[in-house]
Amino acid sequence: MSERCPRIWEVEAIRDGRLRGESRLAHERHRESCEDCRQEAQALAALAERVGRMPTGATDDLGLRRLRQCVLERADAEASGRKRHTRRRIALLGIAAALFAALLIVTTAWIRNAREAPIARVDLVVVATGEPGTRWTRTTESSVERFRLNDGVLSLRVERPAGARRVLVEVPDGEIEDLGTTFRVEVRGGKTARVGVQQGIVRVRLRDGVAIDLKEGESWTREPAQPVLSVEHNAVSTPVEVASAAPSVSQIHSGTGVSRVDAGTAAPAASGPAVGSPEEDAAYLRILELLRAGRRDAAREAARVYLAAYPAGFRRAEVQRVAEDTPR
């Protein structure tokens, strides 16, 4: 290899703004007559250009809009949560003395009535009942009402106004978050065996990958068999969905006896048009267009068609809202 120009490092230094003013001008004059430095400058520019040219996949309009809606909805929910929180803080400060007295009474009652009695906190009511032989504990923390269920069957009735403390049931293999409901958890042999919801919604998160929301009348039961993981990719699948494909370990049973797996965790439907296909996108887009045009009836109808064609579609939850025509 032949000796390269000793000033070649100056090329990078100029590119990064390390060499300025007179030194830079001097180098630029040198470059006019130095092939090495000229080539180096071209090579650095070409490298940047080459990486910048790397295709990053189609950033389709639909995906961008979907993401936009998601971002705005979540930001909105967070912001109203913050406002509520602030308002409540002010209110709480206003009645601090009364609250303090109330808390004293409540705490005393809580200690006296142990576990079975309704615990009337200012904002949260939790009635917890363990079946005979059940091993469980309850602790009240500033932001969480925490239950630990080691073994047995625990039933909870929760009245939880928005913004109230979270209610968490820790099970040996995960946790169940209550979102304001009546439900029942069964733990056997160190594992959650069954979660049943009589009212409201609970969120089940288990360490073996189960992550589901259970609604009224639904229950989740661990299947005795080993998990069968069939993960399929298609054009619009993301790793998030890959990860949540794990809940195929178990099934959700609705009250009507129809068993189903929640959207997003479902493998593409065996029959009918493929979930995540361009056809699904088109069907979804049609609904959006109708909504934008203010044709709510037509949008509702299109939403029903979508739901019938793609029962496990990626936009099922969104489309369901349109079909039921409930404001978000």
């Binding site: 703004g17 490298l47 990053t56 998601c70 971002v71 930001a75």
Partner: protein, 194 residues
């Protein structure tokens, strides 16, 4: 409609930053401003995330970035750099955190004993061999070097801006850039003239 915003001229006065008033509005709780900021920057941020992330969850990164931006907009200080640079700084932070949680997810998947292959760019149809080579070469860089290189060489930020948004000394930015270029060139070689 998404409109392309010309990159800021380096060293332009702060009061010309079109994002500054938008971020200020967002900081005062105006969520429409978040939509405006999204329309302006999401497409490019998505591309940045796709180049930066060692896995295909760019959308998640962009979403997390904008949600965080809406929470901390009130703290944005225009004296410390342009709104766009600040936005990319937040994205870089999200990327860093994501890398850590991704490592956890990988461990979890490994424990499940399942060979889940995460789709890489080579699975995307319509990409040439060079794109795959570039993607893999980027992948081999450390997170810090990759992000620094992309911010300067692809997104067009100055080393000073990158030093500001990443919160590292400018000498570190220079060093990372130098090593990133050397490693990329070693893996990719010089491109053949087309």
């Amino acid at each position: 409609m998404i409109r392309k915003v010309p990159q800021l001229v380096r060293g332009s006065p702060i009061d010309e930053d079109p994002d500054e008033p938008v971020i200020r509005r967002l900081g005062s709780g105006d969520l429409d401003a978040l939509g405006a900021l999204y329309d302006r920057h999401a497409p490019a941020l998505l591309r940045f995330a796709r180049r930066s992330a060692p896995f295909d969850d760019a959308q998640d990164i962009v979403q997390t970035t904008f949600l965080r931006v809406s929470r901390i907009a009130a703290r944005y200080d225009p004296a410390r750099g342009s709104g766009r640079a600040w936005l990319y700084g937040v994205a870089a932070q999200v990327l860093r955190e994501r890398r850590r949680s991704m490592a956890r997810l990988t461990r979890m998947l490994a424990r499940l004993g399942d060979a889940v292959s995460i789709p890489r760019a080579e699975d995307t149809p319509g990409q040439g061999d060079d794109a795959v080579a570039v993607d893999q070469a980027l992948d081999r860089l450390s997170e810090a070097k990759r992000v620094t290189f992309l911010l300067v060489e692809v997104e067009g930020f100055s080393c000073e801006e990158v030093s500001n948004v990443l919160g590292v000394p400018i000498g570190t930015v220079w060093t990372r850039l130098h090593h990133a270029r050397r490693e990329l060139r070693a893996v990719l070689g010089e491109e053949q003239a087309k």
